[in-house]
Symmetry: C2
Subunit: 212 residues, 2 copies
DNA sequence: TTGACATGTCACTGGTTGGTGACTTATGTT
DNA sequence: AACATAAGTCACCAACCAGTGACATGTCAA
């Protein structure tokens, strides 16, 4: 009765998984649920993907979930070369938040990544880690990195903070008095990023002697 | 045959839930699993707690999950009064990470909080938010907050970053090249906190004019 | 001691899960 | 036209799930 088109069916399955993930979260995931949502017999999931695990892998690896460096920066890679370390850092961090806000499915995958360690989570982490390192390489190549500042650690901390605040916005409205779901709150967060980057990149003297 | 002690049984159930949560994560949660783990008939969960939902609420609200302010600061409240804004901020943030690292069940609750919004997640968020505001009040009362710096937003960002890195350590080993499960990596993160706080609290001048 | 009730055990339901084998039917090749 | 194979449907399995009713038994008050 139905048209027989493998690619189309595969697509339906992946779309169904994505929709289910975005709307219900991964708590609702399962072969039956995905098949039902995709309007497809679940046996096809086994035949085409080899089971739920591999389907998830195909989905998470293949999709357009992870914004590229230029997407995060909001500019072509060629333009980035001329920027100052400060501008580049701020652009990338702000862009990270902005892009992540636009991608509910990516958020869902990130939430899912926090749960349980397995081969897939490791694979996702590896891919993401590589991009992070590329970005740090880009930043580190600039010559005005202040001495005594562990830029990677600072960037990791701020980057992680932005990620968490975006993920947290899904289930909470405020974080230490900062609104997570208002434009005002988001601007406060963006300004905090600027404040931190500006301060760290400028005030680097007497960092060492002060610590001990 | 068995001793009949309601309180003991309730405790067994809550302990079972906690152990299950810490070891398997909330993916494995359920009336049957908890009852099995606690060595108790599941019907008692319904009788004593009114179902899984309310059991979870009792668990999450009642337990010693959220470190107090003095726990985070690693000092009595009375001692905190004399500290500088810089020292207090650093102590609280570092303490937050340290305490969170020691509490796998709290981590699990936090992961769970990210998933789905409901009455319980709202209640947890409210309680946590209140403590966060208390801390900010404590910090804000000090008179050396630099003008033009949104301390709450900066604190929220760093606090969120530490939280995310701790949660992430469960399923990944690195974050932008920073080790999450090594003492060296944790020290880098702690130093980054210091770097940021130091820089933000000291370099506040010409913040405004520079932005535009 | 008797009776009432709280405490805990057991068995069962209806529904869902992941997974598999058998089946029908369309498609494309010879 | 005959055929092999791929595409999709269907029925079924054992295991698990949440939830409930019936029952046995310990505890305590009258």
């Amino acid at each position: 009765m139905t048209i027989r088109d493998v690619e189309k069916t595969k697509e339906k399955i992946l779309d169904g998984l994505g929709a289910l993930l975005a709307e219900e979260g991964f708590g609702a995931l399962g072969v039956n649920a995905v098949a039902r949502r995709a309007g497809v017999d679940k046996v096809l999931i086994y035949r085409y993907f080899g089971g739920m695990q591999k389907l998830l892998r195909t989905y998470a690896i293949g999709g357009d979930f992870w914004p590229s460096i230029s997407q995060q920066a909001g500019a072509a890679l060629s333009e980035l070369a001329g920027m100052s370390l400060r501008d580049l850092s701020v652009r990338l961090l702000k862009g990270h938040m902005r892009e992540l806000l636009k991608r509910p499915r990516t958020q869902e995958i990130m939430r899912w990544e926090l749960l349980k360690r397995n081969e897939l989570s490791d694979e996702l982490a590896r891919a993401r880690e590589q991009q992070g390192l590329e970005i740090m390489q880009l930043l580190g190549s600039l010559d005005d990195v202040p001495p005594g500042v562990d830029l990677a650690a600072v960037a990791a901390l701020v980057h992680a903070g932005l990620s968490y605040l975006v993920l947290r916005a899904h289930t909470a409205d405020d974080y230490i008095g900062v609104g997570l779901n208002t434009t005002k709150g988001r601007r406060r967060i963006e300004n905090a990023v600027e404040t931190i980057i500006d301060a760290v990149l400028r005030c680097h003297s007497d960092e060492k002697e002060n610590r001990k």
